[in-house]
């Protein structure tokens, strides 16, 4: 039979063999049980120090923390069950990867879990690990995968041989595979900063600098939306730009006796790289710049979207009679007369150059001997709210109205606009010298047409928090930078970009890629299962063979059944 078979096949398939080979060689990908986006933990080097997860690829079986054997497996954890001890346990047992599942809507999580996670974020980053750590947003299928994995993980090593056998036949294992490549350093990343100015009326005027950093930080770059820190700062800065540009161009008030310089700095969360380079370029390398001449003071805005506290952080208490002291006094006046519910105080913290990173943005200016403050509703720079992925524009605004405390840091629009008004009034009093002229503290300048527009603030904030603003994701061509530039151009003059690139030989900062991946979860069965199946198929085929061999029996049986009737005819 085989000779003629080969003859026939040769004749028929001679022309189609190459085609069929091509067809068979095309390795189409099997469809996964579930495909979902995962966001990697931060990976960066700052001033030579490495932080975060070093690895990006994984191709391992999934387990949950309850399993006994965790080495070279992908450990899955839910935020509700997350704890630092479990994370450490997974790392110590040399797990292959860790995937932390976050709920879609953070407001469903209780306050204490959110708070605990926020405090753990810096610790997670501080321990440098070669294990890839991913975050995923939960959906139904992922949850079912997790529960199935949990059931099989917790039942390991506790049952008899028969149960194990049955288990292998019915249970589903999951293989987690990421599609990307290994992470590597991004070369030549440019951090962009934007500046713009409003010129005062007159010659040789002192300058007031207003600064806010526009990037955000969290344990996973693609999940850092930074609503309060520092989306609120950027929103206030842009609103101030709008108000003062109106004031300065309004014929009846004239421009004030101060120049205003607005600066949106990039790389703020990475030790204020944007500000640092900008200062170097302006003070060391250019001949004349507003910063070299008379600077009255620098006001940095950082996290002002909430709470009834206001802190003015200084590195040196201001001397009597200096412009800084005037600002301090005006702030106290405005708060006392116009917003008594606000609790204002000054916080004095010396610059500590021995620290890894600087505390507030004003310290950068302080190092260069420029008088600077940072205004914030946070008392300490170490507050977890400044670098958390939980800092989002609150999704369920319906819950807020009911008086429930929303989990995690968020922006309260009324308080944001109140803070904007306080800052605007204070600056106006300083610029136009109102206290000296005897204007009472109750006079509100920014009313009616010059009002602080809450809708404007709301839409700015919504736009800022619609996408993640981690410094690794915003290069000079990103839409956020372009839009900010466009906005500044609308109200200010001389809007310029300023780029920071890391030094080649001794980089201050290094970013890594592969921060967002697609993970596939494939349903797999253990190898024993294949053998079991092969055994079953072999026995089935054996039975079939016997049945066909003895087909004649059935035939003769039927014949005997029918033939008596035929004989009767």
């Amino acid at each position: 039979m085989f000779e003629e078979a080969s003859e026939v096949l040769e004749n028929m398939l001679k022309w189609s063999l190459p085609l069929s080979l091509v067809l068979f060689l095309v390795l189409l990908r099997a469809e996964a049980a579930h495909e979902f986006s995962v966001y990697r933990m931060q990976q960066y080097d700052l001033q030579g120090q490495t932080y975060g997860s070093r690895n990006a690829i994984l191709n391992t079986e999934a387990r949950t923390v309850e399993a006994e054997v965790l080495s070279r497996r992908c450990v899955m954890m839910r935020l509700a069950d997350f704890s630092y001890e479990k994370y450490q346990k997974a790392l110590q047992q040399s797990a292959g990867a860790v995937v932390i599942i976050l709920p879609q809507n953070m407001s469903t999580m209780p306050q204490d879990i959110v708070q605990q996670f926020m405090e753990l974020e810096p610790e997670l980053l501080a321990t440098e690990t070669i294990v890839p750590v991913y975050f995923a947003l939960e959906d139904e299928e992922l949850l079912s995968i997790y529960t199935q994995t949990q059931i099989s993980s917790s039942s390991q090593g506790s049952s008899s041989a028969a149960e194990v056998l049955l288990h292998t036949a019915t249970a589903n294992g999951f293989q987690m595979v990421t599609s990307g490549a290994q992470s590597k350093a991004v070369s030549d990343w440019a951090i962009t900063s934007l500046e713009g100015r409003l010129t005062g009326a007159g010659e040789d005027l002192p300058t007031i600098v207003l600064v806010a950093h526009y990037d955000s930080f969290g344990v996973a770059p693609w999940l850092s939306y930074g609503a309060d820190s520092n989306g609120s700062g950027v929103a206030i800065l842009l609103e101030l730009a709008r108000l003062f540009s109106r004031l300065y161009s309004y014929k009846r008030s004239h421009a004030g006796r101060y120049n205003l310089l607005f600066f949106l700095s990039g790389g703020g969360k990475f030790n204020y790289q944007g500000t640092k380079r900008w200062l170097e370029d302006n003070l060391d390398h250019t001949d004349s710049s507003l910063l070299q001449d008379n600077v009255a003071f620098v006001l940095c805005l950082d996290t002002l979207g909430n709470s009834d506290n206001l802190y003015l952080h200084v590195s040196k208490p201001p001397k009597e009679g200096s412009p800084q002291h005037i600002l301090l006094k005006e702030l106290e006046t405005v708060v006392a007369h116009q917003h008594p519910e606000l609790k204002f105080s000054m916080v004095h913290k010396k610059i500590n150059l021995a620290d890894d990173t600087l505390a507030w943005e004003h310290e950068r200016f302080g190092i260069r001997r420029l008088p600077a403050f940072t205004l914030s509703h946070l008392e300490s720079h170490r507050s977890p709210a400044r670098h958390s992925i939980m800092d989002k524009r609150s999704v369920s605004s319906s819950l807020e109205g009911a008086g429930e405390a929303t989990a995690g840091p968020h922006v309260d629009l009324t308080k944001l606009s109140r803070n904007t008004k306080v800052i605007a009034e204070t600056l106006a009093r300083v610029i136009y010298n109102l206290t000296e002229k005897g204007v009472s503290g109750d006079l509100e300048i920014f009313t009616e047409q010059m009002q602080v527009q809450e809708d404007q603030l709301a839409s700015l904030l919504d736009w800022l928090t619609a996408q993640p603003r981690a410094a690794q994701l915003l290069d000079k061509d990103s839409s956020i930078v372009h839009t900010l530039e466009y906005y500044l151009n609308h109200y200010l003059k001389d809007v310029k970009r300023h780029l920071v690139r890391a030094d080649k030989r001794d980089p201050e900062f290094v970013f890594y890629d592969q921060l967002k991946q697609t993970m596939n979860a494939y349903r797999v069965k253990p190898a024993i299962f294949d053998l079991l199946l092969a055994f079953c198929i072999a026995s089935y085929l054996g039975v079939l063979y016997l049945a066909i061999q003895n087909f004649g029996l059935l035939y003769s049986f039927l014949r005997r059944v029918t033939s008596p009737r035929v004989k009767q005819h």
């Binding site: 039979m1 067809l23 990908r29 092969a534 198929i537 085929l541 063979y545 039927l558 014949r559 033939s563």
Partner: protein, 225 residues
């Protein structure tokens, strides 16, 4: 899931055909070439059916989930071409009745197996992901083998000139059942919302019933002379 699983599925699907070929004594008749011819006829008939369906039947634009009974019924009617094809194969073959049937059925079923199962097995069963549907497909191909043998026998009986009058009706009914079996199966699945294994079982039972009836009629016919 792996190459091993691929091997499992392929052996489950192909071995019964191999066994049937060997045990039915066709190999002694040098019938391999004739089986291949039957397979070629299968391909030709499928091509014609597809062209016909594509040309004359519009796509269903109704709501998803609503089963288009009339449309599917009309499409199943086109499967009458299968019967014509089988008849064509058998009429061109010389030889005794039983062997004609076996040759035609084997060739037809093997061609269907190769055409419709090879690619899914290669692509799907070899991947990382495990799915029970490949094992189900293999069982399904076993059931089709039996189904085609029964169908060929019924077609042969239908075209016999010496078929007794009393047999006409049962044979016609069986013929109809063979053609519309696919349609009936889909109907059952939709109406009773059967799971995949249950559907397979129902299919096996249905095919078994059809084939037993046709065997009964065949034996009666052949041995009444």
């Amino acid at each position: 899931m792996t190459l091993f699983h691929f091997g499992n599925c392929v052996s489950l699907a192909y071995f019964p055909y191999f066994i049937t070929y060997k045990c039915s004594g066709l190999s002694e008749y040098n019938a391999f070439w004739r089986c291949v011819q039957a397979g070629a006829t299968y391909l030709f008939v499928q091509l014609c059916k597809m062209l016909f369906l594509a040309t004359f039947f519009p796509t269903w634009e109704g709501a998803v989930g609503v089963y288009d009974f009339v449309g599917e019924f009309m499409k199943a009617t086109v499967d009458l071409a299968d019967l014509l094809g089988l008849h064509l194969v058998m009429s061109r073959n010389a030889g005794k009745g039983e062997y004609k049937i076996m040759v035609a059925a084997m060739g037809w079923a093997t061609a269907e197996l190769i055409m419709s199962r090879c690619i899914p097995f290669w692509v799907g069963a070899r991947g990382i992901e495990f799915d029970w549907k490949y094992i189900q497909m293999s069982f399904d191909s076993n059931i089709s083998l039996v189904h085609y043998i029964a169908m060929a026998a019924v077609v042969w009986m239908f075209t016999r000139y010496d078929l007794p009058k009393s047999f006409r009706l049962p044979v016609t009914i069986l013929l109809g059942l063979c053609v519309y079996k696919g349609f009936l199966m889909e109907l059952f699945v939709h109406v009773f919302l059967l799971g995949s294994w249950t559907a397979l079982l129902v299919k096996a039972v249905l095919t078994g019933a059809i084939s037993l009836c046709s065997l009964f009629l065949f034996v009666t016919l052949v041995h009444s002379n």
